[in-house]
Subunit: 182 residues, 2 copies
């Protein structure tokens, strides 16, 4: 199923109405301005986050916002202009969990085509156990594998990343995992 | 240096003028509609491509488009809605090089913050030596390490990816590389 939001109705440059048509030198429909001809591109967004680790535990946040209010997630959010994927992953971990971390490398790349997103998680080492929920979290808590709230995780990309993490941890070797979430 | 294009002048929903202000629950300036209040987000784009390999050679394309017209690149382009990063990398390789490939896994993740892009390259195995330039390429050619046109490569992300490729090839082990292009 193709993700086509078609959310653009007016030109960002001149404000006139757009039409979704295939531009002459292109092969898919774009919002093209009926007045000035500007072509508007819509592309997937990156969500960046971390797996913050303390001993055999990982830090999860319970969501204080929609979607998935009240469910548990790894700290993550949309990558912003002006930052690297690593910068963004650290920022989200600070904003949502108030945690102090050191990144340990890219860990998962998960395509969520249905919603037009690419999720990138980094492994991270918690530097201490000082953390606190930010505005977007209800609570923040450390969990070992057995106590992870597997039934109330917010997103499949979080589940996938945690499953890889504990499996890699058991075999004593971490590698980058790429997968698609259908 | 923060990448702030501020390219939005009118609301995509209603066409009224926007102003760049920090929304109440946010921490950075966004284009906010002065009439309907819609907040417009601008985020980094993903560029996806491949390192197509045949024996000890890699396939490069000479660009038939700006920017960097006439310089050599790995096949790559913007990730589109409706496709995974792997889908996009294969599509660009077909479009620009007319090549038949099989992906061999994610290889580099390169942040180019200055232009608001994340470049993702996959290693790929050429299935045959049938290839031909698409509309965006002047010519397509196989190069071994010594013959790569290092002085006329189009992008630093291409250079970085090729340097990693030949180094990893020499030591006989490939791993995912993440880096920032300043």
């Amino acid at each position: 199923m193709l993700f086509q939001p078609r959310s653009i109705r007016h030109c960002k440059a001149c404000g006139a109405a757009v039409r979704y048509v295939v531009p002459a030198d292109d092969n898919r429909e774009r919002a093209v301005c009926s007045a000035c001809g500007l072509v508007h591109y819509e592309n997937p967004l990156n969500v960046v986050g971390t797996v913050p680790v303390w001993g055999d535990q990982v830090l999860l946040c319970r969501r204080n916002i929609e979607p998935r209010y009240g469910l548990w997630t790894l700290p993550a959010g949309f990558l912003e202009l002006g930052e690297t994927t690593a910068d963004g992953a650290i920022r989200e971990t600070v904003e949502e969990a108030g945690a102090h971390i050191e990144l340990e490398g890219l860990y998962t790349l998960l395509n969520v085509v249905r919603v037009g997103q690419v999720h990138l998680f980094y492994r991270a080492r918690l530097l201490d156990t000082v953390f606190a929920p930010g505005p977007e979290s209800i609570e923040v808590q450390l969990f070992d594998e057995a106590s992870v709230p597997w039934q109330t995780l917010a997103f499949r990309t979080v589940r996938e990343t945690l499953l890889h993490y504990f499996a890699d941890r058991r075999r004593g070797r971490f590698e980058v995992h790429a997968a698609d979430i259908s």
